[in-house]
Symmetry: C2
Subunit: 314 residues, 2 copies
DNA sequence: GCTAAAGTTGCTCATCTGAGCAAGGACTCC
DNA sequence: GGAGTCCTTGCTCAGATGAGCAACTTTAGC
């Protein structure tokens, strides 16, 4: 588009969009036919002279969502635009996840949830009365060894309460020290039944952690920084329901995995609705691993993550 | 608009604007009638959920321009949107002024110009060949006492050259020390003829300066900082064609004014086209004085200045 | 509980707008 | 210089859209 055409397009756009004139009127005013006006407007939109944007905390990027679905064979995708303020990213994604959960049809009778900061936020933002009589099951261990005790339970309970249903918890450490202990615990009748209930869920809602010193597992005392460093050295990019995976979505350390309590990755892969919530630049790698290895059927994320997924997997 | 309607409006806007669906399709998809879709879109635009903006260096704000015309009885107004970068404001206004000048009809045979940074920029941005055979006359004195000598002449010459015409200069100090000198100079045949030519111009193009230590007059040595301080104390807000005016557009110091060489304010007020170019936050006060006192028939400015003019003159 | 006022909804109809097409113009490559 | 190709232009026509209206619903005030 040459200089003078561009200038004309600007004038046309001003008269049409800002002055609310019809294409006919604009044409008459500028001495061109209305068809030319129409074409200039189309071009102005294409070229970006005219920018139409939807400014709202609950806005979504449907075009990006479609690309994600297509590229990774997902059942669904939810992408929220990046807000001006970085702090706002995770609440918006959480809100979107909460909205999505409330809209899942058929309504899940049994919902398996993991825990973590992101999930906590989702629970908090979920609309009270989002459903009726839901059964929420915690799908991975979580009683932490230090202060933050109870947040894992809190998440499940909140989601259950707001859905006028009840929560079934898994009050067991996420990772046990000995394989034997883990086996023994799983043989326990109560624990086994929770595991069974979890395995039967019709939908799962979970997030992922980054493999690094800031991991919740280090924070909670399940793993030392050295442990995590070793995992990273072995190729770990992050954890999903407490299990560390590499960039291909494979378990990094099977011994560690044996000591991890909760649902297995294959159960997640087989699930009807496996809703994966991720926000933030740090999690691009884990997100990619999850999405490419079919761990989720639905992803809820921010635009930056979505673009990262789409760009680098060409 | 309540929460749920708003959310619906967002969904509607996304499907309509981003997915390019018809209102009918959007309605079918969301289970509402197409009329409701149309109404939601209208509201979304009104409320600002949908924002349509024209992003272009040459874009204008026609709505604001209309307000300016109406409020101040101007013949015309040109308002450029604020660019993201503050540095960009004055070039954009200058460009707009250059564009405007080239589009003035009937084409001015004789154009009176003042000088200064703004005018210089206008001259620089003017399109070569913007007209043919124009006669450019310098309307106020300008040979400066220090280094920057010649810029005043430069402006007029550039405008004339680009308009395939010739420039008539007024190579005399803007302000003389003695009234007698000024009178004597004006009696000079050559000078008198330039003044006469200037007075006969069919269009004037000029800017304004702020009354303050940074004034060109101080910079050029015509006035001392103390002089300017005194002017300010007397109510001066700035100068137009070298003459200091107060907020009502009246001459502040008649003695000083008597020593100022060039066109008078009344000649400006009587002119057919008095095109006033102002940019920048510092000049809001002078701009208001010029505009409210009828010194210009056309204003070319930036959005911030325009808003300042409109807001505070209610 | 009733009435008036204000707001909302679905509809008709006139107008606006984009897709698609044929004709004209400009540019390229022998 | 001429044929072929690409791009632009104005047009027809069908589909999309907004103004205006009457019926209906909600709200407020008594």
């Amino acid at each position: 588009m040459d200089e003078s055409t561009e200038l004309l397009a600007v004038r046309v756009a001003e008269l049409y969009y800002e002055e609310n004139k019809t294409q006919d009127e604009v044409g008459a005013l500028l001495g061109i036919t209305r068809w030319k006006v129409g074409r200039l407007l189309t071009r102005a939109r294409e070229v970006g002279i005219v920018r139409i944007e939807i400014v709202h905390p609950r806005a979504r990027r449907l075009d990006v969502e479609r690309q994600l679905r297509d590229r990774f064979g997902l059942k669904d995708a939810v992408v929220v635009p990046l807000p001006a303020d970085d702090e706002e990213v995770s609440p918006r994604v959480a809100q979107a996840a909460a909205d999505y959960l409330a809209a899942v049809r058929p309504i899940p009778r049994t919902l398996g949830v993991s825990w973590g900061r992101t999930l906590d936020e989702v629970a908090r933002l979920l609309a009270p009365g989002w459903t009726v009589g839901v059964q929420v099951v915690q799908i991975n261990g979580g009683v932490s060894l230090n202060s933050k005790q109870g947040t894992a339970a809190q998440t499940a309970v909140t989601i259950a309460q707001k859905g006028h249903g009840q929560a079934t918890l898994l009050p067991i450490p996420a990772i046990l020290e000995q394989v034997e202990t883990k086996r023994a615990v799983e043989r326990d009748r109560a624990v086994a039944s929770v595991r069974a209930l979890g395995a039967s869920a019709s939908a799962y809602l979970y997030s992922a952690g980054v493999a690094g010193a800031s991991s919740v597992h280090v924070d909670s005392g399940y793993l030392t920084e050295a442990d995590v460093d070793e995992l990273v050295a072995k190729g770990a990019v992050g954890d999903v329901v407490g299990r560390y995976i590499d960039r291909n979505g494979a378990i990094v350390d099977s011994t560690l995995d044996e000591r991890t309590v909760g649902i297995g990755l294959d159960e997640l892969r087989a699930a009807e609705h496996a809703i994966f919530v991720v926000a933030g630049d740090a999690k691009h790698d884990v997100a990619r691993a999850v999405v490419t290895s079919g761990l989720c059927s639905v992803i809820v994320t921010d635009e930056a993550t979505a673009h990262a997924l789409l760009e680098e997997t060409t």
